[in-house]
């Protein structure tokens, strides 16, 4: 008791630090540490998924539709949320996404939009998040370059 009384200031400071750390780490509206770790699936494109492969994913699927209309052939069983990209971080939406037990599937006809939203949500700690697309070959060069041998010969 005497020790506690003697160290009350120290204990108070430690408790305050501990509470602040707990608040900071338990809140969902902040980015997690180590950006590389959370971006890892995007390096190997493991975060891009087609409707056929979605069926094999376990858990309750949550589809986030960033478009006004879902494209044909993309319909998947699961909870669906239609929302514009700029309001994806509204408290209720963010909570629903970050606390979903199963995979979260982001869909938009604009691949650049889904890429940005994926990175933000992933950095916030959303683990099972995927980009749902019917065209998984966005990052493949569709044209072939034919070298201009005449020009190079002239040089």
């Amino acid at each position: 008791m005497v020790i506690l009384k003697n160290f009350r200031v120290v204990i108070l400071v430690v408790i305050i630090v501990l509470v602040l750390i707990l608040i900071r780490s338990s809140g969902i509206y902040h980015f997690k540490n180590n950006a590389k770790r959370w971006a890892e699936p995007s390096f190997s494109q493991a975060n891009i998924i087609t409707p056929e492969k979605v069926k094999s994913l376990p858990g309750n699927k949550l589809i986030i539709n960033l478009d006004k209309k879902m494209a044909r052939g993309i319909e998947i069983d699961g909870d669906s949320l239609k929302i514009s990209a700029d309001s994806i971080l509204n408290s209720n939406t963010a909570k629903t996404i970050l606390r979903n037990n199963g995979p979260v599937l982001l869909y938009s006809s604009q691949p650049d939009l889904t890429a940005k939203i994926w990175m933000i949500l992933s950095q916030m700690g959303c683990k099972k998040i995927y980009i749902l697309t019917d065209e998984p070959y966005n990052e493949i060069l569709k044209y072939k370059f034919r070298p201009d041998t005449l020009t190079s010969n002239l040089l």
Binding site: V9, N33, R37, D112, I120, I140
Partner: protein, 210 residues
């Protein structure tokens, strides 16, 4: 004697306090990795801004005019970069983007860094990461190299009349196409030399009447 004891007490308390805070920090799952520095909402509104893009025509213009305020960054794999690339671009594969600190190659605030890959996805990941790390001068070439081929490399004109604007656009594309063809037809060893030669030739041609 009383004073000495009190002084000692303060020191002990301070030491115990530091020890406790040190223990908390040691037990926390903190890593030395880089983390996003801006707030999620701020990052969201920043990356959704349409001013983060340059069209392929704008990029073609930068190349033709040899704009020194622009750094074009190819995010594709080195083997893809070696096969074909936009003249003047540097290769930083997206898979290695966070292996080193991106600030090292994006630190010049006077230079606009334009990312491109084959499509739109990797360049937008790169924009989001760099903006999250509070690097503001980053942009993406809309549509990537696929759009470059579709618009610049396959540009052609058929018809009798052409407006001034269309003519300027067509000329810009033709010049960029020529540079792209010349550059990518050369063996790797000659590419660096070619840039220097081309720079001098253009200067001489653009001289006009004095």
């Amino acid at each position: 004697m009383k004073f000495k004891k009190r002084k000692m007490n303060t020191r002990v308390k301070f030491s115990v306090g530091l020890l406790c805070i040190g223990l908390i920090l040691a037990l926390l799952p903190l890593s030395g990795g880089r983390s996003f520095k801006v707030k999620p909402q701020q990052l969201l509104s920043e990356v959704l801004d349409n001013n983060n893009y340059f069209t392929v025509d704008q990029v073609a213009g930068f190349i033709v005019s040899e704009d020194s305020t622009v750094q074009i960054i190819d995010l594709r794999a080195p083997e893809e970069f070696r096969m074909v690339n936009i003249p003047g671009s540097i290769n930083i594969p997206y898979s290695n983007f966070l292996n080193t600190d991106p600030v090292i190659f994006l630190n010049n605030e006077k230079i606009r860094n334009i990312f491109y890959s084959n499509g739109d996805i990797e360049s937008n990941y790169a924009i989001t990461i760099s903006r999250g790390l509070n690097i503001k001068n980053t942009y993406a070439m809309k549509g990537g190299l696929n759009e470059w081929f579709r618009t610049v490399m396959n540009s052609s004109f058929s018809g009798e009349k052409i407006t001034v604007r269309e003519n300027a656009l067509f000329e810009n594309r033709t010049r960029a196409k020529k540079m792209f063809n010349e550059m990518n037809s050369l063996p790797d060893s000659l590419r660096a030399k070619f840039i220097q030669t081309n720079h001098l030739t253009t200067k001489k041609l653009d001289g006009g009447c004095e």
